[in-house]
């Protein structure tokens, strides 16, 4: 603690205690404000040089999975990554584009069954029983074959802004309840199962 001012020590102690409580109340407030979005349906796709650009409708849900809204989104995926079969979605390189970014390049049809137009280049989309288009396969004679692309690689998360004014209150409650938690959980450890 050498070199800390009294105020600095107080803030350091506060920070340590908040870390220690893992922000129980603030953490749950942030969870309640968490917004998660994943593609619901694809409506446009284009091959632009060495990437596939996508336009899709995203379904926005809260942390408990309740649907809250839909939003139009754009994203781009490098074609070399689409050719790989060993990439888990968490490692998939996705570029999030502006919601109004133009989808330049060669436009592709989006098909849920056998293609009706140009059969050599299209996006074959698979729809789950709940209506979500959970993955697609790009068919393009010019550059394939491509591996399935899973829509959850396009997951985005955000925080609803209403939570921020509540955080100081949550932090105060966390600080006040921290000693109770510290007392309580060793008791549970001792008497538990």
């Amino acid at each position: 603690m050498v070199g800390f001012t009294r105020g600095g020590r107080a803030w350091a102690a506060f920070a340590v205690m908040m870390l220690g409580s893992e922000g129980c109340v603030t953490g749950h407030l942030l969870d309640a404000a968490l917004r998660r979005e994943q593609p619901f349906s694809y409506h446009s796709a284009a091959i632009d040089a060495d990437r596939l650009t996508l336009g899709y409708t995203a379904l926005i849900t809260n942390d408990a999975g309740k649907a809250l809204a839909r939003k139009e989104r754009r994203a781009a995926i490098p074609l070399p990554a689409l050719r790989r079969t060993d990439l888990p979605v968490e490692a998939f390189p996705v570029e999030q584009l502006a919601d109004d970014a133009p989808l330049a390049g060669r436009q592709l049809a989006i098909e849920t069954r056998d293609p009706s137009g140009d059969p050599s280049s299209y996006l074959e989309v698979e729809t789950a029983p709940d209506g979500r288009q959970k993955h697609f396969v790009l068919h393009d004679a010019a550059g394939g074959p491509y591996a399935p692309f899973y829509s959850n690689a396009l997951t985005r998360t955000s925080t609803a802004p209403w939570v921020y004014p509540l955080l100081p209150l949550g932090a105060a409650v966390d600080l006040a309840t921290f000693p109770i938690l510290v007392t309580f959980f060793p008791v549970l450890l001792l008497v538990g199962d």
Partner: protein, 266 residues
């Protein structure tokens, strides 16, 4: 003064270590048994539901009310998940031996249930006359129900302290990775599935199999509330979220999961 503050801070460190949830238990050594089998290694009876659940088929909203006639064998998910793993890790069934009397089975079952659920002994408890736990619990349901611990074991499960704290995506990803590791070592982990502070689910299940794809990891779990079929606990690798399947008491959807009966903290 400075020294005492330093000591106070040092005293706080173990507490921080505990509440931050960084303390993973050690992995039990592989004991060379075949993988956990469903339904053979599970109970023939189910933990009964205390409430009647109404799930809206469209909105998936759930409400509940007490059953008209309260069932007797309730709130035992923790006791059953724990006991199923104890039987798996300790009991050795010998169907070629003659069936024994109730007193003998009571003694043997107690012996199994008294073992450490986190660190089973090397010595096996031989149970004569039956092929597996399913077989035994079908023939001696009342005996086993009587010997299993009551609801207190679920309420006072040691790892319950963790459920009130938030779970982040990275932490849930670590849980999924650890479950895979343990299954690879032949050890079926027990998982607390929760949606705190909501009360829609607060449940203990045993994970016995998994299937990983680039999009998700699908864990197959023994849900003590359902003796007939396994349930899926799916980890979405993109959203870093677990999802529990729809059941008679849960509409299906995102949950938080963490391992229990694992190390001295959980």
């Amino acid at each position: 003064m400075r020294r005492s503050r330093g000591r106070a801070f040092q005293g706080l460190l173990p507490v921080l270590w505990l509440v931050l949830g960084c303390a993973g238990g050690r992995l039990p050594s592989a004991h060379g048994r075949p993988p956990f089998r469903f339904p053979a290694d599970t109970f023939a009876f189910a933990n009964q539901l205390l409430m009647e659940y109404d799930i809206d088929p469209v909105t998936r909203d759930i409400s509940w009310h007490p059953k008209e006639k309260p069932p007797e064998f309730v709130l035992r998910c923790g006791a059953m998940a724990r006991a199923a793993r104890q039987f798996y890790s300790v009991a050795q069934f010998d169907p070629s031996a003659p069936v024994a009397d109730d007193a003998t089975y009571a003694h043997l079952v107690r012996e199994v249930l008294d073992t450490d659920p986190r660190d089973p002994p090397d010595k096996a408890v031989v149970i004569p006359g039956y092929h597996d736990l399913r077989d035994l619990s079908e023939a001696h349901a009342s005996l086993l129900k009587g010997l299993l611990a009551g609801p207190w074991e679920t309420y006072l499960q040691r790892g319950n302290w963790r459920l009130i704290f938030p779970f982040g995506g990275e932490q849930q990803q670590q849980v999924a990775g650890r479950l895979l590791d343990e299954l690879a070592r032949g050890w079926p982990p027990i998982v607390h599935v929760v949606r705190f502070p909501e009360r829609t689910i607060n449940h203990l299940v045993l994970v016995f199999d998994s299937e990983a794809t680039p999009a998700e990891i699908r864990f197959r779990v023994y849900d003590p509330n359902d003796a007939e079929r396994p349930v899926d606990l799916v980890f979405d690798r993109g959203a870093r979220v677990f999802t529990y399947s729809a059941t008679s008491f849960f509409p299906g959807g995102p949950v938080k999961a963490y391992e229990v009966y694992d190390g001295w903290l959980y």
